[in-house]
C-alpha cells in the first residue's frame, strides 16, 4: 500500500467524513452543555427566552439554527464536487 497512489476522490471523501464527525461532536457538546448546564438548576430560577426556558432555547432552538447554518456554510464552501463514475475522477 505504501507510496501507492490512491484515488484523489477518496482524499476528498475522507476529509468530508471527518468534517461530519467534527460537526456531530460540536453539536453534541453544544446540546449537552446548554441543556444540563443551564437546565440543571431548580426550575424556580429559570430564565426565559421568547417564552421558552433558556436552557431549552439555547440548546435546542439556537443549537439547531447554528447547526443548520454551519452545515450550509461548510457544504457550500468546503465540499468539493466529484464524479462518481469510474472514468470521471476529480473534475474540480
Amino acid at each position: 500500500m505504501k507510496g501507492e497512489k490512491i484515488d484523489p476522490r477518496f482524499k476528498i471523501a475522507h476529509r468530508e467524513a471527518l468534517i461530519g464527525v467534527g460537526l456531530v461532536i460540536f453539536n453534541f457538546i453544544w446540546w449537552f452543555g446548554f441543556a444540563y448546564g443551564l437546565g440543571g438548576q431548580s426550575p424556580d430560577s429559570y430564565t426565559y427566552v421568547f417564552g421558552l426556558p433558556a436552557w431549552f432555547f439555547y440548546s435546542c432552538v439556537l443549537g439547531f439554527i447554528i447547526m443548520a447554518v454551519l452545515v450550509t456554510v461548510i457544504v457550500k464552501f468546503w465540499f468539493v464536487d466529484v464524479s462518481f463514475d469510474e472514468e470521471g475522477g476529480d473534475h474540480s
Binding site: F28, F32, P53, F64, F84
Partner: protein
C-alpha cells in the same frame, strides 16, 4: 364518521396513487430493471433525496409516539428528540462520496451488494445480512402497519380490519408498480405534508394556548419538572437521554433502509443539496412535532393514551378540514416508512438471495416478474400478520432498529474507511452485534443508565477490529480485492 377529516385523507391517497402510476412508466421502459426498481436508476436529486431519507426515518414511532411521550415527559423528551438533527448531516457526510463511488464500482443495488463486493463475495456475510434484514425489517414493517391501521381506525371510525385493508391496498399498489422511484417521490410528498402539517399544528396550538408564556405558566403550575430536562418525575437521566445520540443519531448510519438511499443519488451536487435541506427539515419537523406534544398538555390535560395526543389536539385546535390535512401527516410518516421497508425486504429476497445463490442467470424478464411477485407476496404476508400480530413478531420488532444498527454499522463504516477490515471481522461484528443486543435486552437492559443499543455497538466495534487483525494473514490474498480497486485509478 367525520367526513371533513376523511376527505382530505382520501385526496392525499389519490395523489399518492397518481405518483405510483407515473413512476411505473419508468419501470416499464427501463433497460436495467433491477437498478430502476430497487434504486430508481440512481437518479435522485437533492431535494427528493433529503425528503426520502427523512420520511423513511421519521416513522410511526416518532410521529405518533413522539408527541405522546413529549406530552407525558415535557421538555426533556423534546431535548432527546433533537439528537435527530445529527442524522440530517451525519449519515450523508459519513457514507458520503466514498459509499456512492464504491457502490457504483461494485454495481451495488442493495446494501448487501456493497457488503458482498467489499468482503470478497463472502457467502456467509451475504446470507447473515440478508437474513437479518428480512427477519427484522419484516417485523418492523408489520408493527408499522398495525400503527397505520389503528390511526385510520381512530380518525375515521372505520373498523380495524377495514382500516388495515385500505392502508395495505394503498401502500401495496404504488410500491409494486412503481418501485423505488415511486417510493422516493411519494416520500417527498409525504415529507412536505409532514413539514407543513407540524408547522400549522404548532402555530394553532400556541394560539389556542394563549401564547408560549401562558403555556409555560400552565406547565409550571401543573408540574415544574415538565420544563426541566429530566422528565416529569425527574427520572430522565443525562446519560439515558444522551445515549439516544447513538440510537437515533449516529447509529442510523447502519440502517439498511437509510444506507440504500446513500447509493441512489445522481451526483455530488445532489448529495450536497440533500445535506443542507435534510438538516434543516429534519430539525424543523422534530422540534415542532415534539413541542406540539408538550404544548398540548395545558390545553387538553388528562389524555391517558399517548398515541391519541396528536389526533385529539389537531381536532381540538383546528377546523375539521384543516385537521384532516394535518392528520395526513402521521399517515404519511407511516406509509413512507413501510413502503421503503417493503421494497428493501423484497430486494433482499430477490437480489441478495435468489439471484446470488439460487438462479444467478435469470433473465431480465424473469427477474422483473419475480421482483413484482415477491413484493406482492410479502405485502400480503404482512397484511395477514397485522390482522393478529403473533407474539414472536412483536418481540422481533423490539430489536429491529437497534439490532440492525449494531449489526451493520461497522461492516459498513469500517468497510469503507479501514482497508484491513475483512470478512471474518464483518461476520464477527454482525453476529456479536445482533446476539449481544438480544441478550442485553433480555438480561441487562439500559446498562449503565444508557439505552440498550450502546453496548452492542461498542462490542461489535471491538469484534470487527480484533477479528480482522487476528485473521489478517489468512485473508491477505482475498483482501486485495478492495485494495486493488482503490489503486486501480
Amino acid at each position: 364518521m367525520n367526513w371533513a377529516v376523511i376527505i382530505p385523507l382520501f385526496v392525499f391517497l389519490v395523489v399518492i396513487f397518481g405518483i405510483g402510476f407515473w413512476a411505473s412508466k419508468f419501470v416499464r421502459s427501463s433497460d436495467s430493471f433491477l437498478s430502476e426498481y430497487f434504486l430508481g436508476g440512481r437518479e435522485l436529486g437533492g431535494f427528493i433525496l433529503a425528503m426520502t431519507m427523512i420520511a423513511t426515518y421519521g416513522s410511526a414511532s416518532s410521529f405518533i409516539g413522539g408527541p405522546g411521550v413529549a406530552y407525558t415527559q415535557g421538555f426533556g423528551w423534546v431535548l432527546l428528540s433533537m439528537s435527530q438533527v445529527a442524522t440530517g448531516y451525519f449519515v450523508l457526510m459519513i457514507l458520503g462520496k466514498k459509499f456512492a463511488i464504491m457502490a457504483r464500482r461494485y454495481n451495488a443495488v442493495t446494501l448487501i451488494d456493497f457488503l458482498k463486493g467489499r468482503y470478497n463475495n463472502s457467502k456467509w456475510v451475504v446470507l447473515i445480512s440478508a437474513l437479518s434484514i428480512i427477519i427484522f425489517l419484516f417485523s418492523a414493517m408489520a408493527a408499522q402497519w398495525v400503527g397505520g391501521a389503528r390511526l385510520i381506525e381512530s380518525l375515521t371510525g372505520i373498523s380495524y380490519l377495514g382500516a388495515l385493508f385500505i392502508f395495505a391496498v394503498s401502500v401495496l399498489i404504488y410500491v409494486i408498480i412503481g418501485g423505488f422511484r415511486a417510493v422516493a417521490l411519494t416520500d417527498t410528498v409525504q415529507g412536505v405534508v409532514m413539514f407543513l402539517g407540524t408547522l400549522i399544528l404548532l402555530i394553532a396550538v400556541i394560539i389556542a394556548g394563549g401564547g408560549i408564556t401562558n403555556i409555560m405558566d400552565g406547565l409550571r403550575a401543573e408540574n415544574p419538572n415538565l420544563i426541566t430536562p429530566y422528565g416529569f418525575d425527574g427520572n430522565l437521566s443525562a446519560a439515558y437521554v444522551s445515549s439516544f445520540w447513538v440510537l437515533v443519531g449516529v447509529g442510523v448510519v447502519g440502517l439498511p433502509q437509510v444506507t440504500v438511499r446513500a447509493m441512489s443519488y445522481k451526483n455530488s451536487q445532489a448529495m450536497h443539496r440533500a445535506l443542507i435541506i435534510g438538516t434543516i427539515v429534519v430539525g424543523f419537523i422534530m422540534l415542532n412535532m415534539h413541542l406540539i406534544g408538550v404544548f398540548a398538555r395545558p390545553i387538553l390535560p388528562g389524555i391517558e393514551v399517548g398515541d391519541k395526543v396528536m389526533p385529539l389536539i389537531a381536532l381540538e385546535v383546528l377546523p375539521a378540514w384543516v385537521a384532516g390535512i394535518v392528520l395526513a401527516a402521521p399517515m404519511a410518516a407511516i406509509m413512507s416508512t413501510v413502503d421503503s421497508l417493503l421494497l428493501l425486504v423484497s430486494s433482499s429476497v430477490v437480489k441478495d438471495v435468489y439471484l446470488n445463490y439460487i438462479e444467478p442467470k435469470a433473465s431480465n424478464q424473469k427477474v422483473k416478474k419475480l421482483s413484482i411477485t415477491v413484493t406482492a407476496i410479502l405485502g400480503i404476508l404482512v397484511f395477514l400478520m397485522a390482522l393478529d400480530p403473533p407474539n414472536l413478531l412483536i418481540w422481533l420488532n423490539l430489536f429491529a432498529f437497534g439490532g440492525l444498527e449494531a449489526a451493520f454499522i461497522w461492516p459498513v463504516v469500517l468497510g469503507l474507511y479501514w482497508n484491513r477490515g475483512n470478512k471474518h471481522g464483518a461476520l464477527a461484528s454482525m453476529l456479536i452485534g445482533i446476539l449481544s443486543y438480544i441478550l442485553f435486552h433480555n438480561f441487562y437492559p439500559s446498562a449503565f443508565g444508557m439505552h440498550t443499543v450502546v453496548l452492542p455497538i461498542v462490542l461489535s466495534f471491538f469484534a470487527f477490529i480484533a477479528v480482522s487483525l487476528l485473521t489478517k494473514d489468512a485473508n491477505e490474498a482475498e483482501g486485495s480485492n478492495f485494495e486493488n480497486l482503490e489503486r486501480s485509478i
